[in-house]
Symmetry: C2
């Protein structure tokens, strides 16, 4: 299900661009696959499943534990913690605007939000359910879920496929439009500070937008190499190279250190940074990107302006109601939490 990396022909790391870059605002709605149109019942069900710790073996870890919808869509940890206090190998990516990613997971091993949603639930170090039969078994023991699945999908609907469809439909509503940047692009020239405008120009001029482009700053194409430039000092400090990204999935040398391009939306909220969460601040992240992707030592002024611009990508978070999860009946869950 991997997107063809070969689509990405050659990286355009031009240090200046002659044609003005086309800045785009974030759409207020995410594209939907034909086989999973959103509906109010489906989205409500997805919101419940997303926030339900009973989808984990211990009954303590929900999707939102690591991809926290009350925060920047992740957990502000270098790497996330699943059942049994097990640490994951990568830093949780944000769920906000994930609907605009060309592929999902850091290594892009899922092509869709639906595919992605199926993974963590049965990952032994994340939510730790033995298999999806066990998940469905537990959900079926909760009467309210029987009703909610039926409302969303019709009868005999409590299946893995529908559970992941509902979660994906909910995730497609997690969009943060109307950032200062969006307002600026739509014509409100007062929406950005001078430093932010300088940062925006710098981002274009340096060529950051050759990878981080489009409305979510995560394209074009799905995968890019990181780090581009081998740099002993940075590697010694941050150990980016230890994890081979896409190649860990495909086992192909050509895919070594290729990664899904992460969105820059709300990046000011998701410290620490990079796939291994090894970089504690946004300032340092920008400096590291200059060195590892452009082979440039950015000045403190450049870094400061770019960080100001990145802060302008923090959008408006939709008001959500807190879901009331379908009630555990007056009996221990089946299977019982570990």
């Amino acid at each position: 299900m991997l997107k063809i990396r070969a689509l990405i022909s050659g990286l355009l790391l031009a240090s200046s661009v002659s044609v003005a870059y086309a800045w785009e605002a974030l759409p207020e709605k995410a594209p939907e696959p034909a086989n999973n149109p959103g509906s109010a019942d489906k989205i409500a069900l997805g919101q419940m499943l997303y926030h339900d710790p009973r989808l984990s073996s211990t009954g303590t870890v929900s999707c939102s534990s690591c991809h926290n919808t009350m925060l920047g869509g992740e957990d502000n940890r270098a790497n996330s913690i699943g059942v049994g206090a097990q640490k994951g190998g990568r830093s949780a990516p944000t769920v906000w605007n994930a609907a605009f990613n060309a592929v999902q997971f850091w290594d892009g091993r899922a092509a869709t939000l639906e595919d992605q949603a199926a993974g963590p639930v049965t990952n032994p170090i994340e939510m730790g359910m033995k298999n999806w039969d066990e998940v469905i078994n537990r959900l079926k023991s909760i009467e309210g879920y029987q009703v909610a699945f039926e409302n969303a999908f019709g009868s005999d609907a409590l299946t893995k496929e529908n559970a992941t469809k509902a979660i994906a439909a909910y995730e497609r509503t997690l969009i943060t439009p109307n950032s200062p940047y969006d307002k600026y692009v739509k014509g409100d020239k007062s929406a950005l500070t001078e430093a932010q405008v300088r940062g925006m120009q710098k981002v274009e001029e340096l060529g950051c937008t050759s990878c981080h482009s489009g409305p979510a700053f995560n394209g074009p194409g799905a995968f890019r190499k990181f780090p581009m430039y081998s740099n002993g000092g940075i590697e010694a400090q941050y150990h980016f190279g230890k994890d081979k990204g896409l190649a860990e999935v495909t086992k192909k040398a050509d895919d070594d250190h290729f990664w899904k391009v992460p969105t820059l939306r709300n990046i000011a909220l998701t410290a620490p940074y990079f796939h291994n969460g090894s970089v504690p601040t946004l300032e340092l992240a920008v400096k590291v990107m200059g060195k590892s992707q452009l082979n440039k030592d950015l000045s403190n002024e450049e870094i400061s302006d770019i960080v100001a611009f990145l802060n302008a990508l923090t959008g408006e978070f939709p008001k959500q109601s807190m879901p009331l999860l379908p009630r555990t009946p007056g009996t221990t869950l089946t299977p019982a939490p570990l």
Copy 2:
């Protein structure tokens, strides 16, 4: 700060009562202490703190992790799991209607919600912060909290005392009125089924209400002995006696196996049961209570009717908006999550 247990003079375990028992509906507002009146800003701040995993050493455990406001106010586990996958010794009590408890914690060691809120944050097996200075230090590094505390309490307000006041003020809003029982008591005789009415009569007749009385079925008085009757069979199976309750705090033999009387409100949602979560179903819990508190073998019919009645104590859960937690700045938290 313990309430004086001696106030509870003699247990009234009458097997029948001559004066009709005065059933009470749940108030829609909880009593407030004079030094902590609720306000919209304070409650909003409390809701944020309550749901914020950054109040734990690892950044993964919030109050709501164990006392889940999307569920029955707890975690449906025999015992809760704190930072580092450490298991607590007792089953998490529900936060719903905790405002009506005479004392807090199973062993009643906190007299108020404010006192209670201070405990788990620095408990090494719950939220694991080293001390409250560390908590306040981290909160101060989050700009949004500086603003939220100021809005709620005025300037220089980011203190432990105010944090626990805000959490308590929020918890006082977590009330579930209008259960079928409440409607019945207020005059809607169709609100309960026949089995539920029989169960209600049985609860009075057996004398359950001598401990579980008042609008939240958790009084009068704060503490009661459990188990009342030593019963080798039950002890061998459920090990209730291992934990001495109040005596673990006071170290007094007189307090052996004295416990806060838990509310029966929403009890159908909080399996498994008792302080050690050793009883998997509500049916069994009722049977055990008959044996251990009344020295009676309840019939299956009696148990079934009482369980029907207990299900009528599930109230209406207030609609809450999902809090947007004050954003982690573009830098790792201080102190950094473990």
